[in-house]
C-alpha cells in the first residue's frame, strides 16, 4: 500500500476518533449540565457573595474583604474550627484503625464472611442519617441506654450529650462507628495482596505480626491513603450528626459547633449569607490544603507495588 493509502487510513481513523469524542460528549451532556447548573454555577455565585453583604432578602452589596477580615476576630468561628479539627483528627484515625483491624480479621476466611461484612457495613449506611442521630440522643441521654448500663455496675452516669465536656465525644463515637465503608475498601485491598508474599515470609520464619507489618501494611498503603483522603474530606464536611444530636444549636455551649453548623447558622439563622459564603470558601481552602499535604506526604509513606 502506498503512503497515500496509509494517510487515508490514518485520516479515516482520525475522523472516527472525532465522532467517538462527539458521542462521548453527548453522553456526558447530562452530567455536564448537572455539573454546571448544580455545582459550578452555585459555586461561582457563592464566590461572588463571599465578597458581599447579603441578608437574603435585599440585593447583595459589595463589601470587599470585610467578611474575611471579620473571620480574624470571630471567636465563635475560632471555636468551631477547634471543634472541627478535634473531631477530624480524633475520629478519622480511630475510624480507619478500627476498619483496618476488622478487615484483617474478616479476611482470615471466616465462615459467613458476607454476613459479617454486611452487618459491619450497616452503620455506614445509617450513620449519617437523621434517625441514627436521634437514636444517639436517646442512647447518650441522661436516662439513656449508656447510663442504664452504667447504673447496673454502680456507676453514676451523666447527660453525655448535654454536658459540654463529653458531647463532642459522643459524635466522634458515632463517626467511628460508621467504619463500614473504609472497611469494605480495605477488604478489597487485602484481597489484592498476592498470597505468595505471605508464603515467602512464613518460609523465612516471619510470625503473623511481622507478616502484617512487613507485607500487609506496606502493600496496603495505597488503600490506606485513599481511605484517609476520602474520610478526611468527609469528616471536615460533617453536618447532620452535630445538627441533629445538638438539636441544631451546636450546643451545649458551642461544644458541638461544627464548622458547617456555624456556616449554616450564619447564613440561615442570622441572615448573613455573605459571611456564610466566605466561610464556605474558607472551608474549601482548608480541605484543599489538607488534601494537598496528604498527597505530598504520601510520597514518603505510600508504596506502589508496580
Amino acid at each position: 500500500m502506498s503512503a497515500l493509502g496509509e494517510l487515508r487510513t490514518l485520516k479515516g481513523q482520525q475522523s472516527t476518533d472525532k465522532r467517538d469524542t462527539k458521542v462521548a460528549y453527548l453522553f456526558l451532556l447530562p452530567w455536564f449540565a448537572g455539573l454546571f447548573l448544580i455545582t459550578i454555577g452555585p459555586m461561582a455565585a457563592s464566590l461572588y457573595l463571599a465578597f458581599t453583604d447579603y441578608n437574603l432578602i435585599q440585593p447583595p452589596e459589595w463589601a470587599g474583604l470585610d467578611n474575611f477580615q471579620r473571620m480574624l476576630t470571630d471567636d465563635r468561628l475560632h471555636n468551631s474550627l477547634k471543634v472541627t479539627f478535634l473531631y477530624v483528627f480524633i475520629s478519622v484515625p480511630l475510624q480507619l484503625a478500627l476498619a483496618l483491624a476488622l478487615a484483617v480479621l474478616l479476611d482470615r476466611g471466616l465462615r459467613g464472611l458476607p454476613l459479617y461484612r454486611s452487618i459491619y457495613y450497616l452503620p455506614s449506611l445509617l450513620g449519617a442519617s437523621v434517625a441514627i442521630a436521634v437514636l444517639w440522643r436517646q442512647i447518650f441521654g441522661t436516662q439513656g441506654l449508656v447510663n442504664q448500663i452504667l447504673a447496673l455496675v454502680g456507676i453514676d452516669g451523666r447527660g453525655w450529650i448535654s454536658d459540654p465536656s463529653t458531647a463532642l465525644g459522643t459524635i466522634i463515637i458515632l463517626n467511628v462507628w460508621t467504619f463500614g465503608a473504609p472497611m469494605v475498601i480495605f477488604l478489597a485491598g487485602l484481597r489484592q495482596i498476592p498470597r505468595m508474599y505471605y508464603e515467602a515470609a512464613s518460609t523465612e520464619g516471619a510470625g503473623r505480626w511481622r507478616q502484617f507489618r512487613s507485607v500487609t501494611l506496606p502493600l496496603l498503603t495505597p488503600i490506606i491513603f485513599f481511605n484517609l483522603v476520602l474520610q478526611l474530606i468527609h469528616a471536615f464536611q460533617s453536618f447532620t450528626q452535630a445538627f441533629v444530636v445538638s438539636g441544631g444549636t451546636g450546643g451545649p455551649s458551642d461544644s458541638t459547633m461544627f464548622y458547617t453548623l456555624y456556616l449554616y447558622q450564619s447564613g440561615f439563622q442570622n441572615f448573613d449569607m455573605g459571611y456564610a459564603s466566605a466561610l464556605a470558601w474558607l472551608l474549601v481552602i482548608i480541605i484543599g490544603v489538607f488534601t494537598a499535604i496528604n498527597f505530598y506526604a504520601s510520597k514518603l509513606w505510600v508504596f506502589y507495588d508496580d
Binding site: 437574603l56 432578602i57 441522661t142 447527660g159 459540654p164 444549636t249 451545649p252 455551649s253 447558622q265 442570622n270
Partner: protein, 437 residues
C-alpha cells in the same frame, strides 16, 4: 399566576401575564359572591409551621375557604418550626415567597425592615376592628402593619399541684409570692420527693424567662427604634438567681435542662411529672396536661419583692404576614380577613395558635373550649389588672436571640463563664448582630 382550573376551561389562557391583572380585579369583584366570571381562580400560596394537629385543621380551613371562594385557590405548604425558617429565607431570596406567611415575633422585623412583607394596613377588605388594639400594635413597625396578630399569650408558672402536695407543701398564693419564695418552695419539694423529681426547672437559658426578669426590673431588650437597650447588670442578676436555684437544690442538674431545651414538649419535666413548677406560655397547658395526665394549674410569675410587679405581658403568639411581592393583594386581604374574623375558622383553630386576639372571636369560642383551654383563658383574663405593655419585638439581626440567650446561659450554668462576663459578652454580641444587620 392565575392557574386555569380544569373545571373552567378558559379561552383566555393564552393571555398569560395579562390575565393576572384581570383575574385580580375579577377576584375582588367576585369577593364572597362566588361568581368568578370566566376567569380561572387565583392561586395563593399559604405557609405555616406546626405539628400534625395544626396541619390537619389548617387544611380543613383552606378547604372551607376554597369552597366559599371559588375564584381563589389557596394552597398550603407546611413544615415544622426549624425547617420553616430556612425554607422561608431561601424562598424569599429566590423571589418565590408564599403569598401568606405565618410569622413569629422574633423574625417579623428581620423580614419587614428589609422590605419583604406587605403593609397590611393598606389592604382594603381586611377588617381589624375586632382585634384588641394593644395586640394589633405588636405587628407594627415604624413603617406599617406587617404582622396581623393571631393570638396572644401570657407567661405563667405551670404548676403540678399533685407534686407540690405530695411534698407536704401548699400551692402558694401567686399574688404575693417572690422569687425567693419560688426558690425556697422548689428546694423543699426537691428534698421531699423521690430522686429525679425537682421543685422547679432550671432557668437562665430561656429568652422568655429573661424577658420577664428584665421587665420586672423595669428594663427592656430593645427600644421602639430597634436599638438594643438590654442592661448587662440585669442579665447578671438573672444568672445569679438561676445559679442559686441549682445551689439550693430547687432545680436539677444543668445537663438535664440542656437536654430538655432541645427536646419535644412531651419530654419536658412538667409533661413527665418530674418537675413541679416551670414557667411556660399559658396555652401550653393544653399539651402539657395531656402529656402529664395530671391536673395542672397556672400561677402568676413570682415578683422581685413582696408587692412587686409580676411583669407579665401578652406576647403575640404569632402573626399572619403577606409577601410584599404578592401579585394578588386583594385576594390576600380576603383570605386574611377570613382567617381572623370567620367563626368557621375559629371553630377549627380554637386556641391552638394562641388565645385569639380578636375579642369577638374569643368570646365566641370560649364556651366551646376544653377544660385546659379555659384554664388558659381564665388565667389570661385574671392578669387584666397587672398586665403591662408588650415589649418591642426583636429588631432585624436579633432573630437568633433565643440561641444567643441559651448559649451564654449554658456557659454560665456549666461554670465556663462568670455571670457578669457572660452578661457583658451577650449584650455585646446582640448589639453587634443588630448593628450590622
Amino acid at each position: 399566576m392565575p392557574t386555569p382550573s380544569p373545571r373552567r376551561t378558559v379561552s383566555r389562557r393564552a393571555l398569560g401575564g395579562l390575565a393576572a391583572g384581570a383575574a385580580a380585579t375579577a377576584g375582588l369583584a367576585a369577593c364572597g359572591g362566588g361568581s368568578a366570571g370566566d376567569e380561572g381562580p387565583v392561586t395563593l400560596r399559604f405557609t405555616w409551621w406546626g405539628a400534625d394537629a395544626r396541619h390537619q385543621y389548617t387544611e380543613q380551613i383552606i378547604q372551607a375557604f376554597n369552597e366559599e371562594h371559588p375564584d381563589i385557590q389557596v394552597e398550603g405548604e407546611f413544615t415544622e418550626w426549624s425547617g420553616y425558617w430556612d425554607r422561608l429565607a431561601t424562598n424569599v431570596a429566590a423571589n418565590d415567597a408564599p403569598d401568606i406567611i405565618q410569622m413569629d415575633a422574633i423574625y417579623l422585623r428581620s423580614y419587614a425592615d428589609r422590605g419583604a412583607l406587605l403593609d397590611l394596613s393598606q389592604l382594603e377588605g381586611l377588617d381589624t376592628s375586632a382585634i384588641d388594639s394593644n395586640a394589633l400594635d405588636t405587628g407594627e413597625t415604624g413603617d406599617g402593619l406587617f404582622g396581623l396578630v393571631i393570638g396572644v399569650v401570657p407567661l405563667g408558672v405551670m404548676t403540678n399541684p399533685g407534686i407540690v402536695q405530695a411534698a407536704g407543701q401548699q400551692v402558694p398564693d401567686d399574688t404575693t409570692w417572690t422569687w425567693d419564695d419560688y426558690n425556697a418552695l422548689g428546694a423543699a419539694i426537691s428534698a421531699a420527693t423521690p430522686e429525679g423529681t425537682y421543685g422547679v426547672a432550671n432557668g437562665g437559658i430561656d429568652e422568655a424567662g429573661l424577658q420577664l426578669w428584665v421587665k420586672q426590673l423595669g428594663g427592656a431588650f430593645y427600644d421602639d427604634e430597634g436599638n438594643v437597650t438590654l442592661d448587662p447588670a440585669m442579665v447578671t442578676d438573672w444568672y445569679e438567681y438561676n445559679l442559686g436555684l441549682i445551689e439550693s437544690g430547687a432545680a436539677g442538674p444543668v445537663t438535664l435542662a440542656m437536654e430538655r431545651a432541645v427536646a419535644a414538649l412531651d419530654q419536658s419535666g412538667i409533661a413527665t411529672n418530674t418537675i413541679a413548677m416551670q414557667p411556660y406560655w399559658a396555652t401550653q397547658i393544653n399539651a402539657l396536661a395531656g402529656a402529664s395526665g395530671q391536673p395542672l394549674t397556672l400561677l402568676r410569675p413570682p415578683t422581685q419583692s413582696v408587692g412587686g410587679e409580676p411583669g407579665v405581658y401578652y406576647k403575640p403568639s404569632m402573626f399572619w404576614s403577606a409577601s410584599a411581592r404578592t401579585e394578588h393583594p386583594e385576594q390576600v386581604a380576603t383570605f386574611l380577613d377570613y382567617l381572623v374574623n370567620s367563626q368557621a375558622v375559629a371553630d377549627l383553630m380554637l386556641t391552638e395558635r394562641g388565645i385569639p386576639a380578636n375579642t369577638a372571636i374569643r368570646d365566641y369560642i370560649t364556651p366551646k373550649l376544653s377544660e385546659t383551654d379555659r384554664q388558659a383563658i381564665e388565667y389570661t383574663d385574671s392578669l387584666a389588672d397587672v398586665v403591662e405593655d408588650t415589649p418591642p419585638s426583636a429588631p432585624a439581626g436579633a432573630s437568633n436571640i433565643e440561641e444567643i440567650v441559651r448559649r451564654y446561659g449554658s456557659q454560665v450554668l456549666f461554670g465556663e463563664l462568670q455571670p457578669a462576663a457572660a452578661a457583658e459578652a451577650m449584650v455585646e454580641e446582640l448589639t453587634n448582630a443588630v448593628g450590622t444587620a
